[in-house]
Symmetry: C2
Subunit: 190 residues, 2 copies
DNA sequence: TGTACATCAGTGAACGCGCGTTCACTGATGTAC
DNA sequence: TGTACATCAGTGAACGCGCGTTCACTGATGTAC
Protein backbone atom coordinates (compact mmCIF):
# COMPACT_ATOMS: atom_id res chain seq x y z
CA UNK A 1 0.00 0.00 0.00
CA UNK A 2 1.29 3.39 -0.92
CA UNK A 3 0.70 6.11 1.64
CA UNK A 4 0.67 9.88 1.65
CA UNK A 5 3.79 11.75 0.64
CA UNK A 6 5.59 12.03 3.96
CA UNK A 7 4.30 8.76 5.38
CA UNK A 8 7.60 6.98 4.76
CA UNK A 9 9.59 9.74 6.42
CA UNK A 10 7.28 9.54 9.42
CA UNK A 11 7.65 5.77 9.71
CA UNK A 12 11.43 6.15 9.38
CA UNK A 13 11.44 8.61 12.26
CA UNK A 14 9.21 6.37 14.37
CA UNK A 15 11.62 3.46 13.88
CA UNK A 16 14.62 5.63 14.74
CA UNK A 17 12.99 6.98 17.92
CA UNK A 18 11.86 3.56 19.11
CA UNK A 19 15.27 2.03 18.36
CA UNK A 20 17.12 4.87 20.05
CA UNK A 21 15.06 4.25 23.19
CA UNK A 22 15.42 0.47 23.13
CA UNK A 23 19.16 0.51 22.45
CA UNK A 24 19.68 2.83 25.41
CA UNK A 25 17.44 0.77 27.67
CA UNK A 26 18.38 -2.80 26.72
CA UNK A 27 21.62 -2.45 24.76
CA UNK A 28 22.22 -3.21 21.09
CA UNK A 29 22.54 -6.99 21.21
CA UNK A 30 19.46 -7.47 23.38
CA UNK A 31 17.27 -5.38 21.06
CA UNK A 32 15.56 -7.44 18.35
CA UNK A 33 14.25 -5.93 15.13
CA UNK A 34 11.14 -8.10 15.18
CA UNK A 35 9.86 -6.90 18.60
CA UNK A 36 10.85 -3.35 17.70
CA UNK A 37 8.77 -3.29 14.53
CA UNK A 38 5.90 -5.06 16.25
CA UNK A 39 5.86 -2.36 18.94
CA UNK A 40 5.25 0.16 16.17
CA UNK A 41 2.40 -1.88 14.72
CA UNK A 42 4.52 -2.92 11.73
CA UNK A 43 5.88 -6.23 10.45
CA UNK A 44 9.59 -6.93 10.50
CA UNK A 45 9.98 -7.35 6.73
CA UNK A 46 9.24 -3.69 6.15
CA UNK A 47 12.31 -2.70 8.11
CA UNK A 48 14.54 -3.09 5.05
CA UNK A 49 12.57 -0.50 3.10
CA UNK A 50 14.14 2.01 5.52
CA UNK A 51 17.53 0.64 6.57
CA UNK A 52 20.31 -1.34 4.95
CA UNK A 53 20.87 -3.44 8.07
CA UNK A 54 20.61 -3.44 11.85
CA UNK A 55 24.05 -1.80 11.97
CA UNK A 56 22.73 0.99 9.79
CA UNK A 57 19.90 1.55 12.29
CA UNK A 58 22.31 1.49 15.23
CA UNK A 59 24.36 4.27 13.65
CA UNK A 60 21.28 6.35 12.83
CA UNK A 61 19.61 5.81 16.20
CA UNK A 62 22.75 6.73 18.13
CA UNK A 63 23.24 9.89 16.16
CA UNK A 64 19.61 10.76 16.77
CA UNK A 65 19.95 10.12 20.51
CA UNK A 66 22.96 12.44 20.54
CA UNK A 67 21.11 15.24 18.81
CA UNK A 68 18.09 14.79 21.05
CA UNK A 69 20.29 15.10 24.12
CA UNK A 70 22.11 18.11 22.76
CA UNK A 71 18.74 19.75 22.36
CA UNK A 72 17.84 19.02 25.95
CA UNK A 73 21.24 20.16 27.15
CA UNK A 74 21.19 23.45 25.31
CA UNK A 75 18.27 24.40 27.49
CA UNK A 76 20.25 23.62 30.63
CA UNK A 77 23.45 25.23 29.37
CA UNK A 78 21.65 28.45 28.49
CA UNK A 79 21.23 29.20 32.20
CA UNK A 80 23.40 31.43 34.33
CA UNK A 81 25.24 28.66 36.18
CA UNK A 82 24.65 25.54 34.07
CA UNK A 83 27.02 23.07 35.68
CA UNK A 84 25.15 22.25 38.91
CA UNK A 85 21.93 21.88 36.96
CA UNK A 86 23.57 19.51 34.50
CA UNK A 87 25.09 17.41 37.28
CA UNK A 88 21.75 17.27 39.09
CA UNK A 89 20.02 16.13 35.93
CA UNK A 90 22.65 13.58 34.95
CA UNK A 91 22.77 12.02 38.41
CA UNK A 92 19.03 12.23 39.08
CA UNK A 93 16.89 9.24 39.99
CA UNK A 94 14.84 9.97 36.93
CA UNK A 95 17.90 9.58 34.68
CA UNK A 96 18.82 6.36 36.49
CA UNK A 97 15.34 4.92 36.06
CA UNK A 98 14.72 5.90 32.45
CA UNK A 99 17.85 5.05 30.48
CA UNK A 100 15.71 5.04 27.32
CA UNK A 101 15.55 8.83 27.37
CA UNK A 102 19.02 9.50 28.70
CA UNK A 103 22.70 9.40 27.90
CA UNK A 104 23.66 6.41 25.73
CA UNK A 105 27.14 6.08 27.22
CA UNK A 106 26.47 4.15 30.46
CA UNK A 107 24.40 1.44 28.74
CA UNK A 108 26.04 1.32 25.36
CA UNK A 109 29.70 2.34 25.65
CA UNK A 110 30.87 -1.23 26.23
CA UNK A 111 29.02 -2.50 23.16
CA UNK A 112 30.06 0.49 21.09
CA UNK A 113 33.70 -0.36 21.72
CA UNK A 114 33.21 -3.89 20.46
CA UNK A 115 31.62 -2.82 17.18
CA UNK A 116 33.42 -2.79 13.86
CA UNK A 117 36.36 -0.46 13.32
CA UNK A 118 34.61 1.74 10.82
CA UNK A 119 32.28 3.31 13.37
CA UNK A 120 33.64 6.31 15.27
CA UNK A 121 30.22 6.91 16.78
CA UNK A 122 31.48 6.58 20.35
CA UNK A 123 34.28 9.07 19.65
CA UNK A 124 31.79 11.58 18.29
CA UNK A 125 29.39 11.16 21.19
CA UNK A 126 32.13 11.58 23.75
CA UNK A 127 33.85 14.51 22.06
CA UNK A 128 30.55 16.34 21.81
CA UNK A 129 29.84 15.78 25.48
CA UNK A 130 33.31 17.00 26.42
CA UNK A 131 32.87 20.16 24.39
CA UNK A 132 29.63 20.95 26.19
CA UNK A 133 31.13 20.24 29.58
CA UNK A 134 34.25 22.24 28.74
CA UNK A 135 32.14 25.29 27.98
CA UNK A 136 30.11 24.87 31.16
CA UNK A 137 33.27 24.49 33.21
CA UNK A 138 34.79 27.57 31.60
CA UNK A 139 37.72 25.42 30.57
CA UNK A 140 40.17 27.44 28.51
CA UNK A 141 43.25 25.21 28.49
CA UNK A 142 42.87 21.57 27.56
CA UNK A 143 39.98 19.35 28.49
CA UNK A 144 41.26 17.61 31.63
CA UNK A 145 38.43 18.76 33.88
CA UNK A 146 35.67 17.77 31.49
CA UNK A 147 37.23 14.36 30.82
CA UNK A 148 37.42 13.62 34.54
CA UNK A 149 33.90 14.88 35.11
CA UNK A 150 32.42 12.89 32.21
CA UNK A 151 34.16 9.72 33.43
CA UNK A 152 32.79 10.25 36.91
CA UNK A 153 29.26 10.98 35.71
CA UNK A 154 29.14 7.97 33.39
CA UNK A 155 30.72 5.66 35.97
CA UNK A 156 28.42 6.77 38.78
CA UNK A 157 25.26 6.35 36.72
CA UNK A 158 26.44 2.96 35.48
CA UNK A 159 27.20 1.73 39.00
CA UNK A 160 23.96 3.10 40.43
CA UNK A 161 22.04 1.26 37.72
CA UNK A 162 23.86 -2.04 38.22
CA UNK A 163 23.15 -2.22 41.93
CA UNK A 164 20.06 -4.01 43.28
CA UNK A 165 19.90 -2.38 46.70
CA UNK A 166 18.01 0.83 46.02
CA UNK A 167 19.39 2.59 49.09
CA UNK A 168 22.91 1.82 47.97
CA UNK A 169 22.05 3.03 44.49
CA UNK A 170 20.71 6.32 45.88
CA UNK A 171 23.79 6.67 48.04
CA UNK A 172 26.08 6.41 45.01
CA UNK A 173 24.14 9.06 43.10
CA UNK A 174 23.88 11.41 46.09
CA UNK A 175 27.53 11.10 47.04
CA UNK A 176 28.92 11.72 43.57
CA UNK A 177 26.43 14.53 42.91
CA UNK A 178 27.47 16.39 46.04
CA UNK A 179 31.16 15.81 45.34
CA UNK A 180 30.99 17.12 41.77
CA UNK A 181 29.07 20.21 42.77
CA UNK A 182 31.90 21.30 45.03
CA UNK A 183 34.00 24.04 43.44
CA UNK A 184 36.75 22.57 41.30
CA UNK A 185 39.88 24.04 42.82
CA UNK A 186 43.11 22.12 42.69
CA UNK A 187 45.12 22.11 45.91
CA UNK A 188 48.73 23.13 45.54
CA UNK A 189 50.06 20.13 47.45
CA UNK A 190 49.18 17.91 50.39
CA UNK B 1 34.26 -42.09 30.55
CA UNK B 2 35.03 -41.75 34.20
CA UNK B 3 38.21 -39.91 35.03
CA UNK B 4 40.55 -39.65 38.00
CA UNK B 5 39.18 -38.42 41.29
CA UNK B 6 39.70 -34.68 40.95
CA UNK B 7 39.22 -34.57 37.20
CA UNK B 8 35.71 -33.17 37.52
CA UNK B 9 36.85 -30.44 39.89
CA UNK B 10 39.58 -29.50 37.43
CA UNK B 11 37.18 -29.30 34.49
CA UNK B 12 34.80 -27.23 36.63
CA UNK B 13 37.59 -24.78 37.36
CA UNK B 14 38.63 -24.64 33.72
CA UNK B 15 35.07 -23.75 32.69
CA UNK B 16 34.82 -21.08 35.39
CA UNK B 17 38.13 -19.48 34.40
CA UNK B 18 37.34 -19.47 30.69
CA UNK B 19 33.84 -18.09 31.32
CA UNK B 20 35.13 -15.43 33.68
CA UNK B 21 37.51 -14.25 30.94
CA UNK B 22 34.94 -14.35 28.15
CA UNK B 23 32.22 -12.60 30.14
CA UNK B 24 34.62 -9.79 30.97
CA UNK B 25 35.85 -9.51 27.39
CA UNK B 26 32.63 -9.95 25.39
CA UNK B 27 29.85 -9.49 27.93
CA UNK B 28 27.34 -12.06 29.14
CA UNK B 29 24.89 -12.04 26.26
CA UNK B 30 27.58 -12.25 23.58
CA UNK B 31 29.24 -15.27 25.22
CA UNK B 32 27.88 -18.59 23.96
CA UNK B 33 28.19 -21.82 25.91
CA UNK B 34 28.93 -23.85 22.78
CA UNK B 35 32.05 -21.85 21.73
CA UNK B 36 33.15 -21.70 25.37
CA UNK B 37 33.11 -25.48 25.80
CA UNK B 38 34.68 -26.01 22.40
CA UNK B 39 37.57 -23.71 23.37
CA UNK B 40 38.26 -26.07 26.27
CA UNK B 41 38.21 -29.13 23.99
CA UNK B 42 34.85 -30.25 25.35
CA UNK B 43 31.37 -30.66 23.89
CA UNK B 44 28.55 -28.40 24.97
CA UNK B 45 26.34 -31.16 26.39
CA UNK B 46 28.78 -31.81 29.21
CA UNK B 47 28.26 -28.31 30.54
CA UNK B 48 25.18 -29.42 32.50
CA UNK B 49 27.18 -31.94 34.49
CA UNK B 50 28.77 -28.92 36.17
CA UNK B 51 26.19 -26.10 36.16
CA UNK B 52 22.45 -25.83 36.52
CA UNK B 53 22.20 -23.17 33.82
CA UNK B 54 24.08 -20.34 32.12
CA UNK B 55 22.90 -18.04 34.90
CA UNK B 56 24.48 -20.36 37.43
CA UNK B 57 27.78 -20.09 35.55
CA UNK B 58 27.51 -16.32 35.35
CA UNK B 59 27.15 -16.11 39.12
CA UNK B 60 30.06 -18.48 39.74
CA UNK B 61 32.35 -16.88 37.16
CA UNK B 62 31.71 -13.37 38.48
CA UNK B 63 32.43 -14.42 42.03
CA UNK B 64 35.62 -16.08 40.82
CA UNK B 65 36.68 -12.97 38.92
CA UNK B 66 36.14 -10.94 42.09
CA UNK B 67 38.27 -13.25 44.19
CA UNK B 68 40.99 -13.35 41.56
CA UNK B 69 41.12 -9.55 41.50
CA UNK B 70 41.15 -9.31 45.27
CA UNK B 71 44.19 -11.58 45.24
CA UNK B 72 45.94 -9.34 42.74
CA UNK B 73 44.95 -6.24 44.67
CA UNK B 74 46.17 -7.49 48.00
CA UNK B 75 49.63 -7.50 46.53
CA UNK B 76 49.28 -3.86 45.48
CA UNK B 77 47.62 -2.78 48.71
CA UNK B 78 50.36 -4.35 50.82
CA UNK B 79 52.78 -1.65 49.67
CA UNK B 80 53.64 1.54 51.50
CA UNK B 81 51.60 3.94 49.34
CA UNK B 82 49.15 1.72 47.52
CA UNK B 83 46.81 4.24 45.97
CA UNK B 84 48.99 5.60 43.13
CA UNK B 85 49.98 2.05 42.18
CA UNK B 86 46.35 0.95 42.11
CA UNK B 87 45.33 3.91 39.97
CA UNK B 88 48.23 3.28 37.59
CA UNK B 89 47.23 -0.36 37.23
CA UNK B 90 43.53 0.32 36.82
CA UNK B 91 44.06 3.00 34.20
CA UNK B 92 46.93 1.26 32.40
CA UNK B 93 46.90 0.46 28.70
CA UNK B 94 47.30 -3.16 29.63
CA UNK B 95 44.06 -3.08 31.63
CA UNK B 96 42.33 -1.33 28.76
CA UNK B 97 43.51 -3.89 26.22
CA UNK B 98 42.90 -7.04 28.23
CA UNK B 99 39.45 -6.76 29.79
CA UNK B 100 39.42 -10.57 30.14
CA UNK B 101 41.85 -10.33 33.05
CA UNK B 102 40.60 -7.12 34.57
CA UNK B 103 37.76 -5.54 36.48
CA UNK B 104 34.34 -6.85 35.46
CA UNK B 105 32.55 -3.58 36.13
CA UNK B 106 33.25 -1.57 32.96
CA UNK B 107 32.18 -4.38 30.60
CA UNK B 108 29.52 -6.06 32.67
CA UNK B 109 27.90 -3.53 34.99
CA UNK B 110 25.21 -2.61 32.46
CA UNK B 111 24.27 -6.25 31.91
CA UNK B 112 24.48 -7.03 35.61
CA UNK B 113 21.89 -4.37 36.30
CA UNK B 114 19.46 -5.91 33.82
CA UNK B 115 19.68 -9.41 35.32
CA UNK B 116 17.01 -10.94 37.54
CA UNK B 117 16.26 -9.42 40.92
CA UNK B 118 17.64 -12.27 42.97
CA UNK B 119 21.26 -11.58 42.08
CA UNK B 120 23.05 -9.02 44.26
CA UNK B 121 26.34 -9.88 42.56
CA UNK B 122 26.94 -6.32 41.36
CA UNK B 123 26.30 -4.99 44.87
CA UNK B 124 28.84 -7.40 46.31
CA UNK B 125 31.47 -6.60 43.70
CA UNK B 126 31.08 -2.87 44.18
CA UNK B 127 30.98 -2.96 47.99
CA UNK B 128 34.13 -5.03 48.06
CA UNK B 129 35.90 -2.61 45.76
CA UNK B 130 34.82 0.34 47.88
CA UNK B 131 36.13 -1.31 51.03
CA UNK B 132 39.53 -1.80 49.46
CA UNK B 133 39.64 1.74 48.13
CA UNK B 134 38.45 3.11 51.46
CA UNK B 135 41.34 1.47 53.24
CA UNK B 136 43.85 2.69 50.68
CA UNK B 137 42.47 6.21 50.94
CA UNK B 138 42.63 6.08 54.71
CA UNK B 139 38.96 6.91 54.76
CA UNK B 140 37.68 6.92 58.33
CA UNK B 141 34.30 8.64 57.96
CA UNK B 142 31.90 7.42 55.28
CA UNK B 143 32.83 6.21 51.83
CA UNK B 144 32.36 9.33 49.74
CA UNK B 145 35.92 9.49 48.43
CA UNK B 146 36.04 5.85 47.41
CA UNK B 147 32.64 6.03 45.70
CA UNK B 148 33.72 9.01 43.65
CA UNK B 149 37.05 7.40 42.83
CA UNK B 150 35.50 4.08 41.80
CA UNK B 151 32.97 5.87 39.59
CA UNK B 152 35.74 7.82 37.92
CA UNK B 153 37.95 4.76 37.41
CA UNK B 154 35.16 2.65 35.95
CA UNK B 155 33.89 5.48 33.76
CA UNK B 156 37.32 6.38 32.43
CA UNK B 157 38.21 2.79 31.54
CA UNK B 158 34.81 2.30 29.91
CA UNK B 159 35.14 5.44 27.82
CA UNK B 160 38.74 4.70 26.84
CA UNK B 161 37.64 1.25 25.63
CA UNK B 162 34.66 2.53 23.66
CA UNK B 163 36.68 5.00 21.66
CA UNK B 164 38.22 4.05 18.27
CA UNK B 165 40.87 6.78 18.06
CA UNK B 166 43.76 5.33 20.04
CA UNK B 167 45.32 8.73 20.77
CA UNK B 168 42.02 9.93 22.20
CA UNK B 169 41.77 6.73 24.22
CA UNK B 170 45.28 7.24 25.64
CA UNK B 171 44.44 10.84 26.39
CA UNK B 172 41.43 9.84 28.48
CA UNK B 173 43.45 7.34 30.51
CA UNK B 174 46.41 9.69 31.00
CA UNK B 175 44.26 12.66 31.99
CA UNK B 176 42.18 10.81 34.56
CA UNK B 177 45.22 8.96 35.92
CA UNK B 178 47.07 12.20 36.56
CA UNK B 179 44.00 13.85 38.04
CA UNK B 180 43.31 11.04 40.50
CA UNK B 181 46.91 10.88 41.65
CA UNK B 182 46.76 14.47 42.82
CA UNK B 183 46.37 14.70 46.58
CA UNK B 184 42.72 14.59 47.56
CA UNK B 185 42.25 17.80 49.49
CA UNK B 186 38.92 19.51 49.49
CA UNK B 187 39.07 23.24 48.93
CA UNK B 188 37.22 25.32 51.51
CA UNK B 189 35.38 27.36 48.91
CA UNK B 190 35.93 28.97 45.49
C1' DT C 1 -13.16 15.24 -14.39
C1' DG C 2 -12.69 10.13 -14.99
C1' DT C 3 -10.04 6.10 -15.78
C1' DA C 4 -5.93 3.13 -16.36
C1' DC C 5 -1.60 2.35 -14.78
C1' DA C 6 2.87 2.49 -12.14
C1' DT C 7 4.77 2.95 -7.69
C1' DC C 8 6.54 1.14 -3.50
C1' DA C 9 5.67 0.97 1.88
C1' DG C 10 4.38 -2.62 4.13
C1' DT C 11 3.13 -7.96 4.52
C1' DG C 12 4.27 -12.40 6.14
C1' DA C 13 6.31 -16.84 5.02
C1' DA C 14 10.76 -18.66 4.67
C1' DC C 15 16.09 -18.78 4.83
C1' DG C 16 20.12 -20.41 7.67
C1' DC C 17 22.09 -19.71 11.97
C1' DG C 18 23.41 -19.92 16.86
C1' DC C 19 21.40 -19.89 21.15
C1' DG C 20 20.33 -22.54 25.91
C1' DT C 21 18.84 -26.87 27.19
C1' DT C 22 17.68 -32.00 27.13
C1' DC C 23 18.71 -36.73 26.74
C1' DA C 24 19.92 -41.49 25.46
C1' DC C 25 24.23 -43.12 25.20
C1' DT C 26 29.50 -44.36 25.91
C1' DG C 27 33.33 -46.20 28.07
C1' DA C 28 37.36 -45.48 31.29
C1' DT C 29 37.69 -45.67 35.91
C1' DG C 30 36.87 -46.92 41.05
C1' DT C 31 34.84 -50.39 43.85
C1' DA C 32 33.14 -54.95 45.49
C1' DC C 33 33.76 -59.62 45.63
C1' DT D 1 45.42 -60.58 42.69
C1' DG D 2 41.72 -61.09 39.13
C1' DT D 3 37.16 -60.30 37.47
C1' DA D 4 32.41 -58.37 37.26
C1' DC D 5 29.88 -54.50 37.94
C1' DA D 6 28.30 -49.65 38.96
C1' DT D 7 29.39 -45.00 38.30
C1' DC D 8 29.08 -40.73 35.93
C1' DA D 9 32.00 -37.01 33.10
C1' DG D 10 31.66 -36.29 28.75
C1' DT D 11 29.43 -37.14 23.81
C1' DG D 12 26.72 -35.48 20.12
C1' DA D 13 22.17 -35.41 18.02
C1' DA D 14 18.02 -33.09 18.71
C1' DC D 15 14.53 -29.74 20.94
C1' DG D 16 12.19 -25.16 20.27
C1' DC D 17 13.27 -20.50 19.90
C1' DG D 18 14.49 -15.86 18.26
C1' DC D 19 17.74 -13.72 15.56
C1' DG D 20 18.93 -10.80 11.02
C1' DT D 21 17.81 -11.01 6.41
C1' DT D 22 15.41 -12.12 1.85
C1' DC D 23 11.67 -12.12 -1.23
C1' DA D 24 7.40 -12.72 -3.89
C1' DC D 25 3.47 -10.45 -3.13
C1' DT D 26 -0.40 -6.78 -1.99
C1' DG D 27 -3.08 -2.88 -2.59
C1' DA D 28 -3.83 2.17 -1.54
C1' DT D 29 -2.10 6.01 -3.44
C1' DG D 30 -0.07 9.51 -6.92
C1' DT D 31 0.39 10.28 -11.71
C1' DA D 32 -0.55 10.29 -16.77
C1' DC D 33 -3.77 10.52 -20.20
Amino acid sequence: MRYSQDHKAQTYQRIVKEASARFRRDGIGATGLQPLMKALGLTHGGFYAHFKSKDDLVETALRDACEELNGLCEEVFARQDPLPAFIDTYLSKSHRQTPEHGCPLPTMAAEMGQRGEASPIADETIRLRLQMLGKALGETEGDAQSIVMLSTLVGALLLSRSVQDSEFSDHILDTVREHLKQPLVKPANA
